[in-house]
């Protein structure tokens, strides 16, 4: 518990600092809004077309790959901590899992999931 308390205090303090900074900025800075100032910036040209258009599917593909590999790399953390004390069997088992992971990466590669065009 004593290791978590400083963290919580840090979170609270940094949030408070951030809010105070923004409030100070509100007080000190000018507030002279004009309609053209509030337009989205598009290199000086008038805004053309809707902004929130559908995005390319590859972004979702990357997100999927990330979820897969990140969750699997999380499995390694507890294993890595106690690897020194584990017997050979546990080490070999995890290496087999690692090979599966490499195989999965090779499969995604072959399927073209890693191409960005």
């Amino acid at each position: 518990m004593y290791t978590v308390v400083p963290l919580l205090i840090l979170f609270v303090l940094s949030s408070v600092t951030a809010i105070v900074f923004v409030l100070a900025n509100r007080l000190l800075g000018p507030q002279a809004m004009t309609p053209s100032k509030l337009e989205p910036f598009e290199c000086g040209v008038e805004v053309y077309g809707p902004v929130r258009q559908p995005l390319h599917v590859r972004f979702y593909l990357v997100a999927l790959l990330f979820v897969l590999f990140d969750v699997e790399s999380v499995f390694f953390f507890p294993w890595a901590v106690i690897l020194k004390d584990l017997g050979l069997v546990a080490g070999v088992e995890m290496l087999a899992f690692l090979l599966f992971l490499v195989g999965a990466l090779a499969y995604a590669w072959k399927k073209g999931a890693l191409e960005w065009d």
Binding site: V22, V51, L83
Partner: protein, 352 residues
Amino acid sequence: MEIFLQEGLVLLKAALWAVALSLVMALVAGFLTYLERKVAGHMQARLGPNRVGPYGLLQFVADGVKLFLKEDLIPSDADAPLFRFGPYLVFVGSFAVFAVLPFGERIVATDLNIGLFYVLAITSIETVGLLMAGWASNNKWALLGAMRSAAQSISYEIPVGVSFLIPIVLAGSMSLQGIIHAQAGGFGLLGWNVFHNPFSLAAFFVGCTAMVAEINRTPFDLPEAESELVAGYNTEYSGMRFAFFFLAEYANIFVISMIAAAIFLGGWQLPSPFKDILPFGLVGSFVLLAKAAVLVFIVLWLRWTLPRVRVDQLMEVCWKYLTPMALVCLMGTAVWMWAFPGRIFFGLFGTA
């Protein structure tokens, strides 16, 4: 009564640490904005900032004051709550990492036993903040920059995570202090994780490359590639909210350098005769900060040496090179530990 006193002391200590760390972050990030311009200047045969204070050292103070006096603008079509909230997340996310950074043998705010895991987890919050900011801006550049930034940060988190595993395997601990303790021996040099075996040497370079990419620094700064996206996710921001992105970006450079120095380059380890010259292991702190400073300089240097990569190259480097390399390094280190147990410096020496 005694318990209350003890808890009060813990709270007081934590509060003091929080204040100290916020000062450290503000100073470090501010100084790095100055240093970046100074390094950039000298690499391009000009002087860089030299007007405010001696050698322009107070430039970042002047910049900070200027940002306070700017108009806090929220575009009319923006999603105001998200637009306001995004910068806070980025700021808090980058600040929270400072809590586990070891500044010396006995100088650390809180030595979490899941230290490195916490670093990985908390830095991901920044990605959420960037995505929020970019989407809420209602600006094409900001949206594209945010999507690129998210895709890049989450992709590069995998090589970073896997290369973090190598020091964890070697030390048998996720705590940053624990990892530094495990790098003792070999005159404070040969015991470094980077010298432990060929795979950990490779993992150091894989990890550093991936970390530079994860914080969106050049040559991987596609989210704010100014020649194509104006400024990426912070195009619409001004004043303090813009400053938060800026502050977080520069604080991140320091954070990754400190972490790389701690988990791969021996941290504050020193040969024992030098350890106790100054109290609190301060010599070690200077050594650690010097290592971090060298890495910071390399990160700044990269920006003026390497051209920006293309998006497809960026993804290719991550998924087709760094990730398999990191996985091979992990396998190799595990096998090496089994083949040469308790030995350091490429398996040549017994534990010193």
